[in-house]
Symmetry: C2
Subunit: 313 residues, 2 copies
């Protein structure tokens, strides 16, 4: 009776990146948890409120998203469901980029902070580790987790990041990153991309490609944010050809897939990239703040912690 | 194409209780806020997890609830939407009372605490106020707000309740309650009903009727809980004939409506009763802990605070 909403995937198994969790030809690594569903409905509501102040459109979009969510294949990875839901919100609200002003504001605030953050990295006894800590601190700017991120929250996260305990294997990552030749750095959010510049600078001796999303979704960074943040002046920036809030290889462009193929280290920022790439058979380091209980359970940690998680290094 | 889910209401306007916010003949006092919708989906997921451990049923119920929520009239009061959603969960899961064991456990834990709480009331300089504070503390046992309430949370709430600042008009309520003749005390949750006994004891010189829900919904108290808690041995207990998680007059029995008619003071516990009775034209005191941001905005307070809110007294 109802259509089942799924993303049309084209084969990526030929690339041999995925070890487990394949569903047909789609890159499913972390299956959706039922707890994600109320969160997606809240995200859709946040998104349509960013898209328009019209309460009639809020009601109509909310109702259509609820029905669509009720017809979805719940075996997909959360960012694939997010991709469908946010496409629907954009289409139904008539706003192709609801988070546009939020993204610009985040970039501008981060650029204000950037000179002092850069000094902190430079004066630090371990500049590389400090840059990693600050790049992860920037991952707090995530409008998928909450519809509002205050400047106070960002400031506090930065301050804490310099001394708080990091989970995972920071030292191992620092050691391996120093040896990498071709690095693919997959960004996450606008604003955060400015923080990523600090780490990109510390990796300046390496060949780096920085990847952003192929189209607007949530406050995820796109080419426009790479330009606003200054990233395009530093390294080669590509987009992945996809509007999923993560890295769905089956939905990615050939240019992006080649970059994955060629990298001897992938640095993947944030939850969406973790959810979609946690099972990839490539040397990878996930740098993120763990903000949701579903991901915390998958990793085996508390929510609210900063994390360096490596695989295949 | 889709049915619009609404509760069939029979006229109550003849009673003349409602001043504003009528929708047809239905007792709509607080309209649903879009923020309630993700919360209802989370509640449905909690409920079906209490109903059965079968993940296939979780998925199927979740999908059907999403579709039903997408077809609902969003002009209804939150407990009317809750009534529809929880009916659906019970029907689809085949479990007529998913919170049965949670309710019994709450009653039993509260009965363990009861002797020491009673002593605290008796030795207090203002026994009536202490009983009100403890009755409101009991309102923390609300599985509509969260799928898990720990004993630690209950213990801490009790401890804090004796000294924390109360919002609203406690003194005015105490003064007016002393003058009331016929009191209708509308309970909220299982477990909490034991705490209500402390206040009912302090009001022993008055004619009191205690009302519970007419059927299982969430962890709301029903006749079974009135029996388990010992309330039936203290005062007349009636049910309201409705399985809404609040007091929907249009869905209530004649016996309950007569009790409303005859009362010269209604004491209404908890959020669901506030959402459905906030506009009633009867002398009423709402005793609750404000646990959700939508109600906090309606009242004009922060979340997490204890509240005595009176009207028409």
């Amino acid at each position: 009776m109802y259509p089942i909403y799924t993303i049309n995937c084209h084969p990526v198994s030929r690339k041999g990146y995925l070890r487990r969790g394949r569903k047909g030809n789609c890159a499913v690594t972390m299956k959706i948890d039922f707890d994600c569903i109320p969160c997606f409905i809240r995200q859709a509501l946040d998104a349509v409120r960013f898209a328009t102040p019209d309460p009639d459109i809020h009601a109509s979009v909310l109702q259509k998203v609820l029905i669509a969510a009720g017809q979805m294949d719940l075996q997909q990875a959360p960012p694939m469901v997010g991709q469908i839901i946010h496409r629907l919100v954009r289409e139904l609200s008539g706003n192709n980029d609801p988070y546009k002003s939020v993204k610009t504001e985040s970039n501008q605030y981060a650029l204000q902070l950037y000179p002092s953050l850069r000094k902190q990295v430079e004066k630090s006894a371990n500049s590389m580790e400090t840059a990693v800590r600050l790049a992860i601190a920037g991952n707090i700017i995530d409008f998928g987790v909450s519809g509002a991120i205050s400047r106070n929250t960002i400031d506090e996260t930065i301050l804490n990041s310099l001394s708080e305990t990091y989970y995972g294997n920071m030292d191992f990552f620092l050691e391996k990153a120093a040896l990498a030749d071709r690095i693919l750095y997959i960004g996450d959010n606008a604003g955060e991309i400015v923080f990523d510049r600090l780490l990109v600078e510390q990796l300046s001796g390496h060949s780096i490609t920085y990847a952003v999303r192929g189209g607007p979704v949530l406050n995820d960074a796109t080419i426009a944010d790479a330009e606003e943040s200054g990233m395009t002046h530093m390294v080669e920036v590509i987009d992945n050809g996809s509007d999923a809030p993560g890295t769905v290889l089956a939905d990615s462009s050939d240019v992006f897939l080649r970059a994955v193929e060629n990298a001897d280290l992938i640095i993947a920022k944030g939850q969406g990239n973790y959810e979609t790439l946690s099972d990839i058979d490539k040397p990878i380091a996930f740098l993120l703040r763990v903000k949701c209980p579903v991901i915390a359970r998958h990793i085996g940690c508390e929510t609210g912690v900063p994390m360096v998680r490596t695989a295949n290094l």
